[in-house]
């Protein structure tokens, strides 16, 4: 074969390839039109009911289903019921991706609600982006992500820390001891905290990370005792946090002098820590169970009536709950014949909703404008809200990275 002939053939093949790829959007749009054309609207619910993170994700699963049931009982959307399709990804990131694919392709879900950990969200990310579907993620997280196919319902570092750090310095002092589990979330939060501290004249006396699931904190507590910091800035999660709090209390360190200020401790952890050991320490979050609004009273009452009087609501389950209502409000803005995940996303931008924490707004970068609060734990296991931000705080997922902004067109680098 002569070189010219070869090039010609390659060109022809290329042209055919072009033609077929041109026809692809038409094919895709015909499949898209098939979304939610049945008698009901299928939505995926992807929280682990087994495995390591099941403890927390179970409550998110419950909160999501509660909202779906309430919406259905009130007549559904456009006269159609929401049909939850439940998958159990068993706390394994690869299984999340697999089940998300199943929900989006086989079950033709218009949206999937799921994930607690960043690892599982990042596993689902390529799937939801490839299918141009929508993944509703309720957890506070470390930011530094800007997908057009994920609706972020939780706080990012600037929403948890902008009010908290100046308040902590003013009330307790500038010397911070950072303790976190060894993974991306604590490191990014500490990163942002350090940038705030350097602006405000604070200092980090020690920064350390323990393995996930670490349960003996006697060395850490000895170090804290020796360093005598003003504030323990904690991003320890789950069982590690329970062990840390109990041992901190057993060591008789005084929360009035050296309070633990946590970004991750919620009503769930405090229930296991015990009110006595948790009392006097602080958490920063947009929502606490004891928050006083009519929306929250209704949420807590319905949640307890449905799942048991000993259950607690917390800052992630609240977001899991209101995100379903945001989804419903977005659907209502659309004509029933044009329901697609991308249309739902576009309709959701700018939506406001009276959530249990206050009126929340979806930013064009798909994160949520929230109401940061600082709560002090009481011996009854509930937090007393000491400080509530005066205005709704906008999400800046790249706050710690100068020159990068997450916008409605995706990530923009200056």
């Amino acid at each position: 074969m002569k070189r010219r002939q070869f090039l010609g053939r390659v060109g022809a093949v290329g042209a055919v390839g072009m033609a077929s790829s041109l026809s692809a959007p038409a094919l895709l749009s015909s499949t898209r039109a098939a979304f939610a054309q049945g008698d009901d609207i299928p939505v995926g619910v992807l929280f682990s009911l087994t495995g390591a993170v099941a403890v927390v994700e179970h409550t998110l699963h419950d909160a999501t289903l509660l909202a779906i049931e309430e919406i259905n009982a009130a007549g559904g959307v456009h006269g159609k019921q929401l049909r939850p399709i439940i998958e159990d990804p068993a706390s394994d990131p690869a299984t999340y991706a697999d089940r998300a694919r199943r929900l989006m392709i086989r079950d033709k879900c218009v949206s999937v609600f799921g994930s607690y950990t960043s690892a599982s969200r990042q596993a689902v990310l390529p799937v939801t982006e490839q299918r141009n579907n929508l993944y509703w993620y309720p957890t506070l997280y470390e930011g530094r992500e800007c997908s057009r196919n994920v609706m972020y319902g939780g706080a990012v570092p600037n929403q948890q820390q902008d009010d908290l750090i100046p308040w902590a310095i003013e009330n307790f002092g500038p010397r911070f001891y950072m303790i976190g589990n060894n993974y991306v979330y604590p490191k990014e939060e500490n990163n942002y905290c350090k940038s705030l501290l350097s602006k405000l004249g604070g200092e980090v006396v020690h920064e350390e990370y323990v393995p996930l699931g670490h349960s003996d904190f006697s060395s850490v507590i000895n170090r804290i005792r020796a360093e005598e910091p003003d504030v323990i800035f904690a991003t320890v999660v789950g069982d590690s946090d329970v062990a840390f709090a109990r041992q901190y209390h057993a060591a008789e360190l005084d929360p009035a002098k050296m309070p633990v200020i946590s970004l991750t401790r919620s009503e769930v952890e405090v229930k296991a820590i015990g009110g006595e050991a948790a009392a006097g320490h602080f958490s920063s979050a947009p929502y606490f169970m004891g928050h006083n609004t009519p929306e929250n009273e209704r949420f807590v009452e319905n949640y307890k009536a449905r799942f048991g009087a000993d259950q607690v609501t917390h800052f992630v389950s609240e977001a899991a709950y209101f995100q379903v209502y945001q989804f419903k409000a977005a659907l209502e803005k659309l004509d029933p014949s044009e329901i697609t995940p991308a249309a739902i996303r576009d309709a959701a931008v700018g939506l406001t909703l009276n959530a249990p924490q206050g009126e929340v707004l979806i930013d064009e970068n798909l994160h949520t404008h929230l109401w940061p609060k600082i709560g002090q734990w009481q011996s009854d296991g509930q937090a007393k809200v000491l400080i509530q931000s005066e205005e709704r705080v906008a999400p800046k997922p790249y706050a710690a990275y100068e020159g990068q902004t997450c916008t409605g067109q995706g990530l923009v680098k200056a």
Binding site: Y209, S215, S218, S240, V242, A250, A272
Partner: protein, 289 residues
């Protein structure tokens, strides 16, 4: 200097917890050659039994200890009768079988009690600290250290100073000949397994006020317990005791010099090197061939 003393105490406290968890495993492993992967779940059952006794019967951790021991020993006895006894001549299969039992126990607790972390209140009597100069020691941790020594001595007495212990050692040395002398080896094995399980239960009860009580808590603990048994040498009580102190102190001191993550890595690396040069552990017992 204060830091060193405080870390030494932290190491001792860690060692006492390791010892009390590993002791039951060492006895079962050393005497019967059964690698009991369900050991961590026995610890977990002990913790949950303590929780149940506290929330439903109002018993404190200390008052619950004998009951927890009896309850978990009973579970161990039943498991030995139903499963482990049939597998003594297939040691490799016991690994798989006990692992399966572990999963069953874990899921049973998850289904019946729930997956979320449970709260157990520590004993009022032992709250607070004892301070000697700059050395601050938690009273509860002091108690755990004392109790682990008590259990160690108790187990040693049981093995060497009682008729049961003599019979057990005879069975370990030669099961066939012992049976010829009228020793019921099956019964001896059942009791030993139950005793080991009961000790794990006590360990579970003792750690609840410090750690988080969840269905998966045993998985991490059994790894530490195996480290102790392997470093100490199979079936040696003295080995288990010295290995726990060694591992506890090494972890505490190394994590003071570096941090908890690096400290842990250094300890594991040290154990690998130790096993390279002393493959049978520090105090290998010569009773089993």
């Amino acid at each position: 200097m204060d830091v060193v003393f405080n870390q030494l105490f932290a190491g001792l406290s860690m060692a006492s917890i390791l010892l009390i968890i590993a002791l039951g495993l060492a006895i079962i492993y050393g005497t019967m050659g059964v690698i009991n992967l369900a050991h961590g779940e026995f610890v977990m059952l002990g913790a949950y039994a303590t929780w149940a006794l506290q929330s439903f019967a109002g018993l404190g951790v200390l008052a619950a200890l004998p009951l927890v021991f009896a309850a978990v020993a009973a579970v161990g006895w039943v498991i030995e009768k139903l499963m482990v006894q049939r597998l003594y001549h297939r040691p490799l299969d016991t690994i798989l079988a006990t692992w399966g039992i572990g999963i069953i126990l874990q899921q049973a607790v998850r289904l019946s009690v729930g997956a979320e972390s449970r709260f157990v209140k520590g004993p009022e009597l032992l709250s607070g600290n004892t301070e000697i100069g700059a050395l601050v020691m938690s009273n509860y941790r002091l108690f755990v250290i004392a109790f682990s020594i008590f259990v160690l001595v108790g187990s040693w007495m049981l093995m060497t100073r009682t008729e049961f212990g003599t019979k057990l050692r005879a069975v370990i040395q030669n099961r066939g000949i012992s049976e010829c002398y009228g020793i019921e080896s099956k019964r001896i094995y059942s009791i030993t397994f139950a005793y080991g399980a009961g000790l794990a239960g006590i360990a579970g009860a003792l750690i609840t006020p410090l750690f988080s009580t969840i269905p998966t808590m045993g998985t991490g603990l059994v790894v530490d317990a195996f480290l102790v048994v392997i470093v100490g040498g199979l079936g040696s009580l003295i080995g288990a005791a010295s290995a726990s102190v060694l591992i506890g102190e090494a972890t505490a001191l190394l994590s003071a010099v570096m941090n908890d993550t690096l400290g842990r890595i250094a300890v594991l690396a040290g154990i690998i090197i130790l096993i390279r040069f002393r493959p049978r552990g520090l105090f290998p017992s010569d009773t089993r061939n």
